[in-house]
Symmetry: none
Subunit: 253 residues, 2 copies
Amino acid sequence: MSDPAIILVAPQLGENIGTAARAMFNFGLDDLRLVAPRDAWPSARAQAAAVGAKTVLDRAQVFETTKDAVADLNYLLATTVRSRDMVKPVLTPEHAARELRREAAEGMRAGLLFGPERTGLNNDDVVLADAILSVPVNPEFGSLNLAQAVLIASYEWFKAADQTAPEVLELTHTRPANRDELIALFEHLESELDRTGFLYPPEKRPAMVRNIRNFFGRARLTEQDIRTLRGMIATLAAPRPRGGRRKSKGEEN
Amino acid sequence: MSDPAIILVAPQLGENIGTAARAMFNFGLDDLRLVAPRDAWPSARAQAAAVGAKTVLDRAQVFETTKDAVADLNYLLATTVRSRDMVKPVLTPEHAARELRREAAEGMRAGLLFGPERTGLNNDDVVLADAILSVPVNPEFGSLNLAQAVLIASYEWFKAADQTAPEVLELTHTRPANRDELIALFEHLESELDRTGFLYPPEKRPAMVRNIRNFFGRARLTEQDIRTLRGMIATLAAPRPRGGRRKSKGEEN
């Protein structure tokens, strides 16, 4: 299965080529193609901007025309911000990523065309594409730069395969508390709160206990948290354990 | 309904602040907050990089500490690439965007924290957040720059606009605590734990404090919860307020 190529048509600044290389490599893409870059290639500015993604630049192919650059591709998307007077499907980046994945799964080679910084793709280039990829933006301010457009397309490509759970609780050296531990914590806390007179008056006790249990329940406590909390409760509730500053009865008021 | 704030902690380069402003404004976000920017503010380099998003820079607020910058926020996400030794939910940008939309629909103010370019957020800042937003990247090359991380988070926020809330936290007669209230709770608790000798020895104090803040952070406490917790702490830590059963020094053991 082959990943899509990123084709930059007539990029003006080496720095933008480097930043685009870095953006795509973050999401596992490394087939970069340049069509008639304005400045000399290879470019020291591109190298500097690529940071660790130099390998993408080293392997980048340079072509004279867009036609040459896309000759081996079976499926081609043109990235545009402005809408064009062209009858072509317009895909969101997310939908485009699904299409690209589908093409790749069928053994097809796909690519994404990006135009020059100032003007975007010209219509002759857009015509070569099967569909248009358009990033939805603030209607009052659409000003994605080249590397940002590459970033979003690449990000959606990566996401379309990614199995990352939408939410993970990071646990290091511990595990979620079980019900037993949670209930022991509640009982420990409540007995101290009873003893010190916090859960008073008696008719309000049930609701107070429920509230307290609720927010500790929401915290998704770990076994380590429970031990820490119980230590805190014991320390706060006990007569001063290391000698020290707590007032003795006689000093009160 | 209010859009989330983008908070850049100790950004180093004006250019990156400008590019981040431009990235967020593409997706309709305009509440930019800077915590202790390294270089002078306002910054000509930021203005140049922001292109049409100057209005975002003009309205940007500058704070001395992260704590000040997030004081009015009810829901806070910390953006990190590396995983941390912290027990916090880790969300994908897409899931984070849904959470942010849900908070906004409930009238809550939310924010996204981004760390300095070279180092990312420090653990004390991450601790302030309810959860971590982490962009899944190429395991062999994770090198998103600051503006790129802002771009992806903002893009997902914008994309999530037309989705209805999948989950709502029912709040009756209360509201989520804001950062000020949460921090006051932490400081109250920690001062009592210091006084009673729980946060001992000193070299372990920072990690203990971080753990404690983390699990209270995870609970998404309401303003009512905070009052209850502070009442509990005061009652547990105080010399017995109603006379009674606490043993005097002489009775121990």
